[in-house]
Symmetry: C2
Subunit: 350 residues, 2 copies
Amino acid sequence: MATMQDVARRAQVSLSTVSYALSGTRPVSDATRRRIEDAMADLGYQPNAMARGLASRRSNVLALIYPAMEKGLGGTVAEFVSSAADTARENGYHLVLWPFRTTQASEVRDLVRQGMADGVLLMEVALDDDRVDVLHEAGVPYTMIGRTRDVTDRPSVDIDFGRTTDDAVGHLVDLGHRHIALVNHSQATVEDGYAPTFRAEEGFDAAMRARGLEPLSLRVDESPEAGRTAVGRLLDAEPRLTALVTMNEIATFGVVAELQQRGIAIPGDMSILSIVTSPGVGAMSNPPLTTMHAPGAELGRLGVQKLLSLVDGSRPSTPNVLIPCALEPGSSVAPATHGDGRPDGGLPAR
Amino acid sequence: MATMQDVARRAQVSLSTVSYALSGTRPVSDATRRRIEDAMADLGYQPNAMARGLASRRSNVLALIYPAMEKGLGGTVAEFVSSAADTARENGYHLVLWPFRTTQASEVRDLVRQGMADGVLLMEVALDDDRVDVLHEAGVPYTMIGRTRDVTDRPSVDIDFGRTTDDAVGHLVDLGHRHIALVNHSQATVEDGYAPTFRAEEGFDAAMRARGLEPLSLRVDESPEAGRTAVGRLLDAEPRLTALVTMNEIATFGVVAELQQRGIAIPGDMSILSIVTSPGVGAMSNPPLTTMHAPGAELGRLGVQKLLSLVDGSRPSTPNVLIPCALEPGSSVAPATHGDGRPDGGLPAR
DNA sequence: GCGTTTCGACGAAGCGCTTCGACGGCGCTT
DNA sequence: AAGCGCCGTCGAAGCGCTTCGTCGAAACGC
């Protein structure tokens, strides 16, 4: 493998001049630059990443601490990872995968100290997350995807659960629905401090109350069976239910199956709006679900950009961003009826 | 950040002794080793990855060239990536993501020359793939997930499509089915040189012929609509069809929807066996699909292990491995009937 | 015409580690 | 008692690059 020294010899210049020509840190005359470029091309020269990293104290590597991917298929996660890797690549960085859960803060610290990564992207942040503290103390640039409980002064990008749930409820209410329930993620996720479960619940409740409606929600395990059971429990609690907001992909399929088995038509008798889901998942249902897509790719891109702005202070640091999910029409949402085919009445007085 | 020199000073030994204590390359007395370990613990020392890499010419990084993830949700892919990252981590390696398609062979070569990775894992290899040639010529250790057309002397791990399709057909034939069709991936994947489409078709045809049955298969676009259309075309071609082998997740959902709409019961009138699919996808259907799960996690683990055995020649190099998909019972496969509820007859003479 | 900038290029000192050759002291043999 | 080998340790030479200080020569001012 050709070294910079080889290039220098061939171009009849000193090693340092080659370095300056490559980095542009100091001016190099056009004639010299051309000779150097020719030499590099002839030799197929590529700078050695390790040497560069050692000398410059910059590895050009970003680390992505990503979730265990145990629950669910991770369509959004895959989308996110892919987009983050692309964006890193476009900016001359590598993306390395660090599979660490919330409890492995010390492993994260050790790895960070090895100087392998210039910055860290942290996915699926828990409400209280030691990994974030470790990164903060270590002084490594980092960006959270998601947010801890208290997010002041901690760089992050996240889904805007408030707006997403409000948009979802608003959409259904506009169609005349008044009795709407949320099929949320499981109690287990809550105990793990999984933030989306909290934020969706809060957002849904707020959105309902803001419209003078009574929120009803259930934490449901991530399984089709749990989804089936949930249907019964929800209908017992509120028989007048005409719409469901679901943010639990696996359970949603159980919900759909159970409704169909009970002869409750989708969307005739019951509308289903699946939120924070991944592209393609809605299409797998019959009828195809109306969904609100999680902005996985966008978060990946913005997360990396934000992180890079911290890594090389040159770029201006952007404020924290929240992105709502986007409504994608399907065939599982329709105007509300009273069960007799007549559209529901107007809004109650607020 | 503490350096090895700091540790040496604190432990009252020379720099090189610390290095030997850490690597075990040369013997170090117990007393000295203890002093060094104490010093490292006191200082919270972690060896610098770049310096180590430069001096040893080993980065402890493996690169994963992964597919664009455009088509489909990539459940299997996510599983694979996750398992590969875990296995790398367990062996003290980092996994970096290199998003490059088949056409970007020169980018791959440049990156390899930068010495960032000690080895390369190549996913979704096409039947003819320049990236493989580039890696071969560069002399970098690599392992393919999947296989090029000619696989002799090229390290790889892959799904055993032959056994998977044979198991699938065998399972259905054991249940009395005689008229079985394959819903394959699209013509577009064939044109991209996507190997699984070929290998599944070959395997299915062979499995059918080996049992004296006439193979019937269709290349179907990756969309529910295409799946719906396929049903009509297949039934036109062979009205006596009682079972479908599908290896196109998205299309499968269309197939199921169309069958149900036509009043063809699953599995009463038509059995569906979804092969090379990812865990959880089957559960999303109603009834839950009987599937043959792609061994994503296993391939990830074996791929990394194989690659590592090439990277540090110490481990013995294993022969190439093919792993079949495993049958996971669901509710979409049942014994064949003649449409009148009676089981089908025995096997025809071979 | 000579001092003073300015520009472009050079040499050398690291970055923090691995690894090779060497060497002192110990226990053993003869 | 002298010689030998071996174990544990040390010093120094890089690995391939970045970056700082410097310096010669061309360009400029008065």
